[in-house]
Symmetry: C2
Subunit: 252 residues, 2 copies
Amino acid sequence: MDIVIIGTGNTATVLGRKLKAAGHKIIQVFGRDAKAASALAYELETESANYWSVVNRNAHIYLLAVSDIAIEEVAKEIQLPNKAIIHTAGAVSKEILKDSSDHYGVLYPLQSLKKESSYLPETPILIDASDDETLMLLEIVGKSISDSISLATDTQRLKLHLAAVFCNNFVNHMYVLMEEYCKKEGLDFQLLLPLIQETAQRIQTIPPSKSQTGPAKRHDVSTIEKHLALLEKYPDLKALYQLLTQSIQHHN
Amino acid sequence: MDIVIIGTGNTATVLGRKLKAAGHKIIQVFGRDAKAASALAYELETESANYWSVVNRNAHIYLLAVSDIAIEEVAKEIQLPNKAIIHTAGAVSKEILKDSSDHYGVLYPLQSLKKESSYLPETPILIDASDDETLMLLEIVGKSISDSISLATDTQRLKLHLAAVFCNNFVNHMYVLMEEYCKKEGLDFQLLLPLIQETAQRIQTIPPSKSQTGPAKRHDVSTIEKHLALLEKYPDLKALYQLLTQSIQHHN
């Protein structure tokens, strides 16, 4: 498939790499930042553009891998009737693209993509489209870069995006808080890395509800009180500890 | 080293396996539950005991791998002067053992250990002891089963135990909440597993503070509002979402 990638960030870069590796031809990278666009174009062995007037009109798919806010701006600027215009966002309706083409849709990678990463992580893809033809196109493209392709409506995609916030953003924030706590207390945060790895590893095969352990789950008041005493000087951590302990106990 | 293991739960079992694999001799497994004790003894190719009167008196180390509450009960029952009595708990002082022997200490595995697991996970060990001789003994035993041995006082160990609650118990609870949310909304929780894996994988090499992404971090009010609207019917999730979003924004 011939593809124009619009955007130069993490999603544009990692999807670009995956698409190229799957044998698709990236015929152009468009980016307003000329330097970033030519850097990504160089990596994907193609040409770059940074004016709308020179966007290649011969692709099968125009992949808008830009920030949520930029999707709307770009959609207003480009008119590509008969071409498939696809965005990659979890929390944006596909209808935002309806004035740019008769064929539009979404290809959302349910993964945290970082261009600095040296490997291409396993990435479930959620697709949706304005019509069957575009949906079939996305199914073919999706299958070429992932073993997991699912149909998801705007609402279903938004709900999974919300779940991703809990499973990635909020989880990573726990790590941030503990990295900071360890630093303040003169402890080595690195000691926690094997535990963090094991926690994620275990739920790959065992449902999380069967893996819950710890003082909250055991209603171990003595340990909970020792922890809360340590958190006296960290009111924000203490509030979180209390809310999460309560929440675990409500799920017992 | 000749070791008596007291306890038959997850920690007793996994440490028993690690110690045996490292070439130590488990000379007895003690457990009040005779069936559990003989099952573990069978696996570790040794004998079991379930009365204090028949506990083997010839070991170098007596490893108390029992629940926090049981440590105190056991300590009251056993007197083993000149033997090293060691507990394995994160949140219990070593001094709880001071009346049982002149040589006591702690060997705390900073990992979530499950006897059902088919592999032995990488496990940092924190040690502490009443005297240099016992400490040296624990250092030798610790090094035989782990590449990461650190000295940690009662307070340091309790602080790392608290950090482990955030990085394991609270993180796993996020997964529990989302498993439940997906089920209620008719979505497939399995789709989130690669993201969960990648989140834990990434911080093995990149500090979590550099990996934080998402609507809270970006102050993306539009997406946050869409998420909160979805959570109207889940007040507990909504409260957590709001507190964690605030907490992330305080760390920007």
